[in-house]
């Protein structure tokens, strides 16, 4: 099909599809009139039964914790996929310098950006940990906190310290950390199977509602998820960054800055 044919066919079909979907939505209860029962049951029982205050976390990591295990492995598989797709081919050289053979030198990162970026790192780390450990109490949890923690690493890149950061870890370490997070989730599930015959059964002491160590295994699962997501996201971003490395005149590399300065292509 040519582009024009495609657009024509789509514009004929889309209104019909839209009408069919709207016809279906008309059968739902009116907006703002959720009828339950599933959500209402869990809103009523989660706090007394699971000693959480954030019911969404109880749903994610306890009542429907098995779904979330699947979700974590979706992330796990995606990171592996990206690493595989962006792996160096035998006919490639590190950094693909030829791709950037524009002849333009990239100015070095200014000290102000560097200080600001590095200064934000400890704050971001603290915020990330806070989001993770309060998962069962307030909105947030292992997933959101894990992403925030990965952002802290990203700030180091932004500050133009790529070489310095690169010395901190090896890809194999990150892979292990990601796999460890995923394996820990499975292990916590198996704990329930071993002690009480049901996979994902939350068998640990529930603690006092409202404290950081409450809700049994939920904080542990949150930490496992944060490790997996944090390590996985750093791997994702490192792999993308790796594709964009440019060699700067003073031997340092700063990829992101280049995009931001370059603006629109000419």
């Amino acid at each position: 099909m040519t582009l024009r044919t495609r657009r024509f066919v789509f514009l004929v079909m889309a209104p019909i599809l839209g009408a069919v979907l709207l016809w279906a939505f008309a059968g739902l209860p009116r907006f703002g009139h959720y009828r339950g029962p599933y959500g209402d049951i869990l809103n009523a029982v989660s706090v007394p039964e699971r000693h959480v205050t954030d019911v969404v976390t109880a749903v994610n990591f306890d009542y429907r914790g098995f779904d979330t295990l699947g979700e974590e492995f979706i992330f796990f598989a995606a990171v592996i996929g990206v690493v595989l797709i962006l792996r160096e081919q035998s006919d490639e050289r590190l950094g693909h310098i030829e791709d950037f053979a524009s002849g333009r030198a990239v100015p070095p990162t200014s000290d102000a950006v560097r200080v600001l970026g590095l200064g934000l790192v400890p704050l971001t780390v603290l915020f990330g940990i806070d989001v993770v450990v309060h998962g069962q109490l307030t909105p947030g949890g292992g997933f959101q906190g894990g992403v925030v923690l990965a952002t802290a690493v990203l700030l180091i890149y932004l500050a133009g310290e790529y070489d310095d950061l690169h010395g901190l870890y090896q890809e194999a370490t990150l892979e292990r950390a990601e796999a460890f997070g995923a394996a820990a989730y499975v292990a916590l599930g198996l704990l329930g199977l071993g002690l009480d015959g049901a996979f994902m059964k939350n068998v640990l002491p529930l603690g006092h509602t409202g404290s950081v160590w409450s809700a049994g295994a939920i904080p542990l699962i949150n930490i496992a998820v944060a490790v997996e997501i944090g390590a996985g996201l750093v791997m994702l971003l490192t792999n993308f960054l790796h594709q964009t490395i440019v060699v700067r005149p003073d031997g340092r590399r700063s990829p992101l800055e280049r995009v931001l300065r370059q603006g629109r292509p000419t």
Partner: protein
């Protein structure tokens, strides 16, 4: 026994995580051996569940969250023989695929094999789950694991394009599925399939919401099953993607997607839509028959071996959909036998063809390869020794006995076309003195799978009738899941008896397939043999143009197909 239920999912997942943790330092052959050990473990566990489920559906609640007052609060697995059998088939096929990774996935073996394991875990969960959102999660886990493998061959733009096409169309299918789930949840306040079924049946009449929810959910699975016109991604991927992934897609995944349609229909929709069964049946049979016929015809339009098999694959998924679309126990029984035998044969065929992966000018040759190809062609033609013949005749019987005898000639013609196409590849292989296959383990795999296909003729036939009767017993399923009753499997009464195929029809198909080969390769100009890779007819060229691998085309056809299907279902159920 009960604590066995989650293990077909948990074991491969744990193995995948451990492989990523420690596999980086291991040699490829060790990684492969560990992977095969995990896939065999899954196969044995799922097989044990088939045995355990013989006396009724096994219900397992994750986290120990049993339902309260008939309302599910957790996620359940509800295991019956058909579901566990599908999980077993997945295990066999992934084992075969894991044995054939040496050339395809030589680099970073720990990563590729970890993806195959997450994919297997997801397929097992997909087969066993009793919760519609859990079904979605596993649908996505299968897809995301497969995307990384599909794009593994990063040096080949066609392979990359196929991976993009695959990822984009499957994601849109997943969104449609999710919209259907949201519709059902808004109406019933439930995610458990049995509970949804009860709630929908309690409503006085079926309205637009139920109709469209059925349509969007079904389309979501049809995209994954690569039914025409949602098949473009599969043709592209099966003719360019890595062989082990193609084995999994062809051997099990497409059939599993159709299985999911049956599972959701019989648990969630049948209680409410039962009164409209005849009309719905016609829609599903029409889609399946159309796919079987069109893709069968297209399989003769090219001589590129993997492309031929891709169309054969699509055509046979159409037949599987016909079996499920009969909406009867007999149809399910026929489908189970057919899918098992057909999956094994397709794995054997792709394993042979795919030995020379990577170069575009594929030439297959060698005595063993030719033998497997001929056996495969005869099996597809309905040679009575193989399970395919029995399965197909049961499906035909099911269609006739539900008032749709027109299906019989359609399936016969589709078999003739696809068998003819495969025999043509066999002929090319026999006549070519090309490079010898260099992977002996593939020949072994193929041999074993041909054996499985023959075995299905005798073994599967014995339990398929009873298993299918239990599968369609919506009421018993609901009571087992929501009330914790141990419901005995219904006897295979209810008219489900498997009669052997008509030998005359089988003979007609075999002769027809041979006639096609003779016509296309001898009576018509010999030019086709010389330019094996080129399309030589106007029709072949047009079909190739249609399947040019354009992402925009795939999505346009998806929109057309989804809209048409939804409207057809709506009209049928009015």
């Amino acid at each position: 026994m009960n604590s066995l239920v989650p293990l077909p999912v948990v074991v491969p997942l744990a193995a995948a995580a451990l492989l990523l943790m420690f596999g980086g330092v291991l040699a490829g052959s060790v990684v492969r051996a560990l992977t095969v050990a995990a896939t065999i473990a899954e196969t044995v566990l799922a097989g044990a569940l088939v045995h355990a489920a013989r006396s009724g559906t096994i219900v397992y609640w994750f986290g120990g969250w049993t339902p309260r007052h008939g309302a599910a609060i957790g996620v359940s697995f509800a295991v019956d023989r058909i579901g566990a059998g599908a999980a077993t088939l997945a295990g066999v096929v992934v084992t075969a695929a894991a044995l054939s990774t040496r050339r395809a996935f030589g680099e970073r073996p720990a990563l590729t094999h970890a993806l195959m394991l997450t994919m297997l875990a997801a397929m097992a969960g997909f087969c066993l789950t009793g919760d519609i959102f859990d079904l979605f999660v596993f649908y996505e886990l299968i897809a995301v694991s497969a995307f990384g493998l599909a794009a593994f061959d990063t040096g080949d733009p066609r392979s990359l394009r196929a991976a993009l096409n695959f990822a984009i169309t499957n994601s849109i299918g997943a969104f449609l599925l999710l919209i259907g789930i949201a519709l059902l949840y808004g109406r019933t306040g439930a995610l458990n399939l049995a509970q949804i079924g009860r709630q929908l049946a309690a409503a006085p009449h079926t309205d637009g919401l139920v109709v469209v929810a059925f349509a969007t959910i079904t389309v979501g699975f049809l995209v994954k099953a690569a039914i025409v016109p949602f098949h473009f991604w599969l043709v592209d991927l099966a003719s360019t993607g890595p062989v082990p992934l193609v084995l999994i897609l062809g051997g099990a995944l497409d059939a599993l997607a159709v299985y999911a349609i049956a599972r959701v229909y019989w648990t969630a929709f049948a209680p409410a839509l039962g009164g409209h069964e005849a009309a719905l049946r016609v829609v599903l049979l029409a889609v399946g028959a159309f796919t079987a016929l069109i893709a069968g015809a297209m399989s003769l339009s090219t001589r590129e071996p993997r492309r031929v098999l891709a169309f054969v694959l699509v055509s046979h998924t159409g037949t599987v959909l016909v079996g499920v679309g009969c909406l009867s126990a007999l149809g399910i029984a026929g489908t189970a036998i057919y899918a098992l035998a057909d999956g094994a044969i397709k794995v054997a065929l792709f394993a042979c063809i795919g030995m020379r992966t990577g170069d575009r000018e594929e030439v297959v040759s060698g005595v063993a390869v030719t033998a497997v190809l001929i056996a495969g062609g005869l099996a597809l033609a309905g040679f009575p020794l193989f399970g395919i013949s029995l399965g197909e005749s049961v499906i035909e019987h099911a269609a006739s006995s539900t008032g749709n005898p027109w299906i019989v000639p359609v399936l016969v013609v589709a078999s003739v076309l696809t068998a003819g196409a495969v025999l043509r590849i066999a002929l090319t292989a026999a006549r070519t003195r090309g490079a010898r296959p260099r992977a002996p383990e593939l020949g072994a795999v193929a041999g074993v799978l041909v054996g499985v296909a023959i075995g299905a003729r005798f073994a599967a036939a014995r339990w398929a009738a009873g298993a299918a009767s239990a599968f369609v017993a919506s009421n018993a399923y609901g009571r087992a899941v929501l009330n914790g009753e141990r419901v005995a499997s219904p006897a295979a009464a209810g008219g489900v008896r498997l009669s052997g195929g008509s030998e005359l029809l089988d003979l007609v198909t075999v002769v027809g397939a041979l006639a096609i080969v003779v016509w296309l390769d001898w009576v018509r100009p010999r030019a086709t043999a010389r330019s094996a890779m080129r399309e030589t007819t106007a029709v072949g060229y047009a079909i190739r143009r249609l399947h040019s691998g354009s992402l925009g085309d795939s999505v346009t056809w998806l929109t057309v197909g989804a809209t048409t299907f939804a409207v057809a279902v709506a009209v049928a159920l009015r």
